[in-house]
Amino acid sequence: MRLLRAILLRLATSAVTLAGVAVIVFVVIRVVPGDPVSMMLPPGATDDDIARLRAFYGLDRSIPAQFLIWAGGVLQGDFGTSITNRQPVLDLVLGRLPATLELSVLALGLAVLMGGVAALTGTRLRGTRTEAAIDVANGMALSVPDFLWGLVLVLLFGVIFPVFNISGRVTPSLDLPFTTNFYLLESILRLRPDLVADLLSHMILPALALAIPLAAIIGQLLKQSLKETMHLDYVTLARTRGYGENHVILREALPNAILPTLTLVGVQFTFLIGGTVIIERLFSYEGLGNLAIDAVINRDLPLIQGIVILFAVIFTAVNLIVDLACVALNPRLRHG
């Protein structure tokens, strides 16, 4: 019951957050210089043409009036129509969302895997050269941002050793039986290893670029907490019971050391999703991020608004999931 109440409270505060995000985005993109109408008309259009087009998109009204019209639509599930694509914003955004979700989750999985292995190996071999090497690799991974990793990976595995695809989401000439936009998930469910291989070959480099900095953060923090935990009395006591190093690390230390890491992963995962904007552009990956850049370049106001709101919803959801996971993993929170 307490958990349910906590969730409801979180949902209510999230709604307030989203409303705030909506107001800020709406105002900011209208106040900054550059307007969609001047982008659409050829040079030499008359003031009359401009005024008519502005009126057509409702841009001649005051910002509060525009906001009320837009917000009224949003509450009924209508996010407006994209100015450049002339399609409903909601359809466009939801069509691209699966591609970005699949990429982000794959990147998160890779990051947890790489960071976890680094932390556990470093703890198991603490005090050796391997630990020092892991620390150096962590530092490097951490100090280079994701888009630079993207370029490095393109150079390494796209140009010098061309083993992976560096552009797009899937090879278009393949027979694509998809009914949803969750291509990877659907190929797995349809048991089509050929498609899974092709999709992964496209996704692996952008996912790695996103994952490497996060893996370094996970590796560093988890190793630090493991190291602290390894000195605690219950770990020493487990040793006197005859347990070896592997058991002591995995069964005694890890369940406790993982909690601070989990909270951080939640925060960092939202940064990772933010990172998809540039990485998707770099790899011409047809996701939300790529769409967002097009929308900004074209001053497609309704589309920008829709994308930002969707990102805000995702961030809120991720935070909620992380909080719930912490409760699930920490008996002190679970049994008051």
Binding site: Y234, T240, R241, G242, Y243, R251, P255, N330, H335
Partner: protein, 293 residues
């Protein structure tokens, strides 16, 4: 025949080479409770840790032997040593609040050794663990097995740790200041419980403490340490009647007495300290001489 025999055990810090143990010798027979006393830093906990193989990484053993049932632990490969110690020995730790894993239920923390190290089946391990909890007078052992550490009081947790120490029928238990972190009323009960469990199982018990009052209640023999050197090794009765070494006598005189709460505390006299320090220096010089000679 003593179950644990320590001979000439020396240890030092890896960094500056500071001596921590100076040729310590002691023995504990089955059913015997031996007190190990000394000031903070005298190396009393260090001996218990060396026996159990949990010395800090910065400490290295430089000589001597630790015979467990006649086998020198220091010559065994690490895995073999761990299993042997895990099967035959147990530790009752100092602080019950930090010695239980907060992320795991009590049950698996007690049965783990039986199942994983001794190869019992789960049902039998469970029954034995509940029995051990009942031996420590904890009500409703089944509920305790399901509880997480934070749901129990300090005294209850120490009882769980005592049950865990005795669960596999160990032949040697090291109790490292097991009552220091508890409040006085609980201290007494826990002390009585340890003595009771030890007597029931006929375990050899090495009782590390700085409290001579505790020694007089539970121990039969004791070893007095100063700066990692054995100053006196004697029976409890003869010790409290007439300590042989001036340092032991001064330590005994320095113990506050409940019978005289207004009395002032007597520190160990400087002359006695100087004498015992000279002994330590002579021991070190002899060790150096033996090494180079």
């Amino acid at each position: 025949m003593s179950f644990l025999v320590v001979r000439g055990l020396s240890a030092r810090l890896k960094g500056d080479g500071a001596r921590l143990l100076r040729g310590v010798g002691l023995s504990v027979a089955p059913g015997e409770v031996r007190g190990l006393v000394g000031e903070s830093g005298a190396g009393k906990s260090m001996i218990g840790k060396a026996v159990l193989g949990i010395l800090p990484q910065a400490v290295e053993v430089t000589g001597g032997e630790i015979l467990l049932d006649g086998t020198d632990l220091l010559t065994l490969p690490p895995g073999e040593r761990r299993r042997r110690v895990g099967a035959a020995c147990a530790l009752i730790p100092q602080d019950p609040l930090t010695a239980l894993n907060p992320a795991r239920r009590i049950g698996p923390q007690i049965t783990g050794r039986l199942v994983d190290i001794l190869g019992w089946d789960r049902a039998r391990a469970r029954t034995r663990a509940e029995e051990a909890l009942a031996e420590t007078h904890l009500p409703d052992p089944e509920r305790i097995m399901r509880a997480y550490p934070h749901q129990l009081s300090g005294g209850q947790r120490q009882r769980c740790l005592i049950a865990s120490a005795f669960v596999a029928g160990p032949r040697l238990i090291v109790a490292d200041e097991p009552t220091t972190a508890l409040d006085v009323t609980v201290q007494k009960q826990i002390l009585r419980l340890i003595a009771e469990m030890q007597a029931r199982h006929g375990t050899a018990l090495l009782f590390v403490t700085h409290d001579l009052g505790v020694v007089s209640k539970v121990c039969q023999s004791l070893t007095v340490l100063y700066a990692g050197m054995v100053v006196e090794d004697t029976g409890v009765r003869s010790f409290f009647r007439a300590p042989a070494h001036p340092y032991s006598a001064a330590l005994l005189a320095a113990t506050p007495r409940y019978t005289d709460p207004g009395g002032s505390l007597t520190p160990v006299p400087e002359a006695v300290l100087a004498a015992v320090r000279a002994e330590v220096a002579a021991r070190d010089a002899a060790a150096e001489g033996a090494r180079h000679g």
